[in-house]
C-alpha cells in the first residue's frame, strides 16, 4: 500500500511498545486479550474433559480447582472486562466522535502495560502458586486457608482493575472534551453512550475491589480480625465488598457489548435505531441500578431475610432497561433491509442469547427459586449466557465488523458465517444442559458428581468442543486475511459513522481534516439499494 497509515507508519518494534496512538494500543490489547482468551479456554477444555465422567479420573481434585480458578480469573479480569472497551473502545471511541486520539494517550499506553503485566503475573501466580479459591476469593478460605499466592492473584486482578480505571477516565474525558464540531450528545453513536456508562461504573466500583483486597492483605499480614471470625472478623463482609464491585463488573462486561450490538443492528438492517434515547438512557439506568443489587448473590449466605427482599426487588428493576433494549433492537429490524452477514449473525445471536441470559437472571432474583439454584450449574449457565452468549458474541461481531477498518482487509465471508453458526449451536449445546443440571441440583465447582447426571454433562462437553472449533476458525481465517484477504475500501459496509469516513486502515491522526458533523446519527435508508464490499467479485474491487 502506498498510503501511509497507522500500521505502516513505522515498522520499528519500539514504535509499537512506545506508541501513544489509540489505534496501536487497541491492537496491542487485541493481541494480549487473545492470548489470555486461549489460556482461559485451555483450562475450560481440560475441566470439560474431566466432567465427561462422573468420577474424578482425569485430573486430581486440586488440579481441577486450580483449573476453574484459572479459567474464571483469566476470563473475567483479563478477557471479558477489557475485551470490548480496550480493543474497540480504544480504537473507535475517538474516531466515532471525530477526535485525533484519546484525551490522555500516554495514560492509555500505561493502562495496557498495567493490564498485560498484571495478566502475566496473575497467570504465573495461579499456575505456580496453586491458587484454588475460584475467582470469587471468598473469605475465610482465601485468607486463612489459602496460601500466600492468593493475595498475589488478587493483587493481579486489582491491578487489571486499575488499568480499566485509566481507560475509563480516558473515555469520560475524551467524550466530554474532544467531540468534533456538530457532534452533539444526541448524535453520539450508542457505542459511545455505552462506553460512557461503562466508564462510570468502572470509576465508582473498582476502588471498592481495591479496598476489599487491601483488607485481605492487612488481615493476612497483621492478623487483624476483619473477615476471619476466629480473629473476631465477619466472613460476610468480604462478600459484600466483593459483590459491590463484581456485580457492576457484569455491566462493565455487558454495556460495551450492547453498544456494539446497536451499531451492528442498525448497519445491517439499514435503519435508524428504534428508540435512540431510550437505549442511551437505559445504559445509564443499568449503570446506576447495577450498584444497588449486589446482595442478590447472598440470599442464602446468612444475610437477613429483609435484606433479601430489598435486593430481590431492586434486581427485578434492572430487568426493565435491559428488556427495553432487546425490544428496541428487535423493532429496528421492522421495515428494514436486513443483510444476513457475519457481524449481523453475531448481533442477532447476541439478542437471542442475551434474552435468555436476562430471563434466567430473573429466576435467580426470585428469592424462593434462588435458594434452590444458588451455587448450582443454573447460575453457571445463566452467567455464561450473559458473558459468552452476550459479551463474547458481541466481541466477535465487532471483530468482524471493524476488521476491515483496523487492518484494511476483508475477512472471508463464508468462513465467517460458518464459524458464527457453529458458535451459536455449540454454545447452546454447551450451556443449555447446564440449566437442567442446575435445577436438578448439581452444585458448581464439583469435579465428581452423581452418575445420573452424566448424559447432560457429556452433552455440555460435546457442545464445548464444537464451541472450541468455532472459536479457532476466526483465529485462523482472520490471521490468513491479514495477508491474503481482499483490500477494503473506506466503508465496506456502507455504514454511517465517522470512523467510516477515515481511510482503512486510518492514518495516524485518523482524519485528514477534522470532520464536521451536520447530520443525524444512524442515517440509514432501508429503501436505498446497497452492495457490500464482501459481496463484490474480486475483479471488480478497486481500492478507494
Amino acid at each position: 500500500m502506498s498510503n501511509r497509515n497507522y500500521l505502516n507508519a513505522n515498522y520499528n518494534v519500539w514504535s509499537w511498545f512506545f506508541t501513544t496512538d489509540h489505534k496501536r494500543v487497541a491492537i496491542l490489547y487485541l493481541i494480549s486479550i487473545t492470548v489470555f482468551f486461549l489460556v482461559g479456554g485451555a483450562a475450560a477444555v481440560l475441566f470439560r474433559l474431566e466432567l465427561m465422567t462422573p468420577e474424578g479420573d482425569l485430573v486430581l481434585p486440586e488440579t481441577y480447582n486450580r483449573l476453574f480458578t484459572l479459567h474464571g480469573i483469566v476470563m473475567i479480569f483479563f478477557f471479558l472486562i477489557p475485551a470490548v472497551p480496550a480493543v474497540f473502545g480504544n480504537f473507535l471511541l475517538p474516531m466515532m466522535i471525530g477526535a485525533r486520539d484519546l484525551a490522555f494517550p500516554k495514560l492509555n499506553l500505561a493502562s495496557w502495560y498495567l493490564y498485560s503485566l498484571s495478566g502475566l503475573f496473575g497467570v504465573w501466580v495461579i499456575l505456580t502458586g496453586g491458587v484454588d479459591t475460584g475467582w470469587t476469593f471468598y473469605t475465610p478460605y482465601s485468607t486463612t486457608y489459602g496460601n500466600t499466592s492468593v493475595l498475589s492473584a488478587a493483587i493481579a486482578a486489582f491491578i487489571a482493575g486499575f488499568s480499566s480505571i485509566l481507560t475509563a477516565l480516558n473515555f469520560l474525558v475524551t467524550t466530554h472534551t474532544m467531540r468534533a464540531p456538530g457532534m452533539t450528545w444526541f448524535r453520539l453513536p450508542l457505542f459511545v453512550w455505552a462506553h460512557y456508562a461503562m466508564s462510570l461504573v468502572v470509576l465508582l466500583g473498582t476502588p471498592v475491589l481495591a479496598i476489599a483486597i487491601a483488607l485481605v492483605g492487612i488481615e493476612r499480614a497483621f492478623h487483624v480480625g476483619i473477615f476471619d471470625p476466629k480473629l473476631g472478623g465477619d466472613p460476610l463482609l468480604f462478600q459484600h465488598l466483593f459483590w459491590f464491585y463484581s456485580h457492576p463488573a457484569v455491566y462493565i462486561m455487558v454495556l460495551p457489548a450492547m453498544g456494539v450490538i446497536s451499531e451492528l443492528i442498525t448497519c445491517f438492517a439499514r435503519k435508524k435505531i428504534f428508540g435512540y434515547t431510550f437505549i442511551a438512557f437505559s445504559s445509564l439506568a443499568i449503570a446506576v441500578l447495577g450498584f444497588l443489587v449486589w446482595g442478590h448473590h447472598m440470599f442464602v449466605s446468612g444475610q437477613s431475610m429483609y435484606a433479601g427482599f430489598v435486593f430481590s426487588f431492586l434486581s427485578m428493576l434492572v430487568a426493565v432497561p435491559s428488556a427495553v433494549k432487546v425490544f428496541n433492537w428487535t423493532a429496528t429490524l421492522y421495515k428494514g433491509s436486513v443483510i444476513w452477514n457475519t457481524p449481523m449473525l453475531y448481533a442477532l445471536g447476541f439478542i437471542g442469547l442475551f434474552t435468555m441470559g436476562g430471563l434466567t437472571g430473573l429466576f435467580l432474583a426470585t428469592l424462593g427459586v434462588d435458594v434452590h439454584v444458588h451455587d448450582t450449574y443454573f447460575v453457571v449457565a445463566h452467567f455464561h449466557y450473559i458473558m459468552v452468549g452476550g459479551s463474547l458474541m458481541a466481541y466477535l461481531g465487532a471483530l468482524h465488523f471493524w476488521w476491515p477498518k483496523m487492518t484494511g482487509r476483508l475477512y472471508p465471508e463464508g468462513w465467517g458465517r460458518i464459524s458464527a453458526i457453529l458458535i451459536f449451536f455449540g454454545f447452546n449445546l454447551t450451556f443449555f444442559p447446564q440449566f437442567v443440571l442446575g435445577y436438578l441440583g448439581m452444585p458448581r465447582r464439583y469435579h465428581v458428581y452423581p452418575e445420573e447426571w452424566q448424559i447432560l454433562n457429556v452433552m455440555s462437553s460435546a457442545g464445548a468442543s464444537i464451541l472450541g472449533v468455532g472459536y479457532l476458525l476466526p483465529l485462523g481465517y482472520l490471521v490468513w486475511s491479514l495477508r491474503y484477504g481482499r483490500r477494503s475500501g473506506k466503508n465496506p459496509w456502507r455504514a454511517s459513522g465517522l470512523e467510516w469516513e477515515a481511510e482503512s486502515p486510518p492514518i495516524t491522526h485518523n482524519f485528514h481534516k477534522t470532520p464536521i458533523v451536520t447530520g443525524d446519527v444512524y442515517d440509514y435508508d432501508p429503501t436505498e439499494p446497497v452492495e457490500l464490499e464482501t459481496e463484490k467479485h474480486p475483479e471488480k474491487v478497486t481500492v478507494q
Binding site: G232, G302, F363, V448, P526
Partner: protein, 327 residues
C-alpha cells in the same frame, strides 16, 4: 436417588412443590419471551431481508409502544418478586415446634448431632412429616448445606450460627451436597438425607448410642474447669445460673441478650464482650473445644436454672439437672 437420566428433580419436602410451581411459572415467562424475540427476529429478518418485496422505511417512533414494553416487563417482574418473596418467607421461617438438630461442617465432612445425643457423619436421618430445624455452624471455612430434593440450602458459616428448616413429605434417601466451594475435597463433602417413617425413625434413634448433649456438655464443663471461676457467688466469673436468654450488661455500657450466638462467642472469643463488673480473665477455648463441644456446653448451660440453687458449682453431675428437651 434414581440413577437413570433425569430432567426434573424429585421432590420430597413441603416447600418443594411450591418452589417448582414458581419455577414453572418463570419457565413459562422465559419461554414466551424467548420465542417471541426469536420469532420476531426470524420473521422480520426474512420478511425484510434485503431484496425482498416488503415495504420498507423508517417508521416514526412510538412512545406508547416503548412505554408498553417497559411497563409489561416491570409488572411481570413484580409478580415474580412478590411470589418469590412469599415462598422465601416460608423457607426462612421455621415453625416453633420443629425438631432441632445440630449440624457442624468442617473440611470436608458434615457432623450431625441429634437432641438425644445420637451423632452421625455425612448422613442425616429425619422423620417423615415433622418439621426439622437445623442449627448449623462451621469449624473452618464457609460451607453450604444443600438438599436438592427439599429445594433448600443455607450457607454454614464459621463463627455464626445459621439455621434452615424443612418438613420431609416423602420417605427415601436423598442427596446432600456442600454447595459453597470450600477447598480441595469440596465435591466430596456430600452425603445423604434419609427420611424415615416416624416409627422407623424412633427405632433408628433408639438403635444409636450417645449421651444427650446437656449431659456431655456437663462433662466438658467439668473437664475444662469452667466451674473454678463460674461459681454461684464470689467466683472470678459471673454465675452462669439462668444465663441463657438473660440480658447481660456489658463493660462497654451496652447490654446484650445471651442467646446461643452470644454464649458461643463467650467461650471461643471471650474478649469480644466483657460482662460489666468483671475482669477479662476468661481464657479463650479456641483450639480446645470444637464447635460440637461448644454446642453441648451451650445445651448444658441452658439447663442451669436461674432461680434454683443450681449453679456452676455443682457441675460434677449434669444428671441432676432436669434434662430439657429442646422443642
Amino acid at each position: 436417588m434414581d440413577s437413570t437420566f433425569q430432567l426434573f428433580p424429585e421432590s420430597a419436602s413441603q416447600i418443594a412443590d411450591r418452589v417448582d410451581a414458581l419455577y414453572l411459572f418463570l419457565v413459562a415467562v422465559a419461554l414466551f419471551f424467548t420465542f417471541l424475540i426469536c420469532v420476531l427476529i426470524l420473521y422480520f429478518g426474512v420478511k425484510y431481508r434485503r431484496g425482498s418485496l416488503a415495504e420498507r422505511g423508517n417508521p416514526p417512533r412510538s412512545n406508547l409502544l416503548e412505554l408498553a414494553w417497559a411497563v409489561v416487563p416491570f409488572l411481570l417482574s413484580m409478580v415474580m418478586f412478590v411470589w418469590g418473596a412469599d415462598v422465601f418467607y416460608d423457607i426462612k421461617t421455621p415453625p416453633a415446634d420443629a425438631l432441632q438438630i445440630d449440624v457442624v461442617g468442617k473440611q470436608w465432612m458434615w457432623k450431625v448431632h441429634h437432641p438425644g445425643g445420637q451423632s452421625e457423619i455425612n448422613q442425616l436421618h429425619v422423620p417423615l412429616g415433622r418439621p426439622v430445624r437445623l442449627r448449623m455452624v462451621s469449624e473452618d471455612v464457609i460451607h453450604s448445606f444443600y438438599i436438592p430434593a427439599f429445594r433448600v440450602k443455607q450457607d454454614v458459616l464459621p463463627g455464626y450460627y445459621t439455621q434452615m428448616w424443612f418438613q420431609p413429605d416423602r420417605a427415601g434417601t436423598y442427596h446432600l451436597f456442600c454447595a459453597e466451594y470450600c477447598g480441595t475435597e469440596h465435591a466430596q463433602m456430600i452425603g445423604s438425607v434419609i427420611v424415615l417413617e416416624q416409627d422407623a425413625f424412633a427405632d433408628w434413634l433408639s438403635g444409636e448410642t450417645g449421651d444427650p448433649p446437656e449431659v456431655a456438655g456437663a462433662r466438658l464443663f467439668e473437664r475444662h474447669r469452667c466451674g473454678s471461676c463460674h461459681k454461684a457467688q464470689g467466683g472470678s466469673g459471673p454465675s452462669l445460673a439462668g444465663v441463657f436468654g438473660r440480658r447481660v450488661p456489658l463493660k462497654s455500657g451496652e447490654s446484650i441478650v445471651a442467646d446461643e450466638q452470644y454464649l458461643r462467642s463467650s467461650i471461643l472469643n471471650p474478649q469480644q464482650h466483657i460482662v460489666a463488673g468483671f475482669q477479662p480473665l476468661m481464657p479463650s477455648y479456641q483450639g480446645q473445644l470444637n464447635e460440637s463441644d461448644v454446642l453441648k456446653i451451650i445445651a448444658y448451660m441452658k439447663t442451669l436454672e436461674g432461680n434454683a440453687s443450681a449453679s456452676g458449682e455443682d457441675t460434677g453431675d449434669g444428671n441432676d439437672q432436669p434434662p430439657e428437651t429442646e422443642n
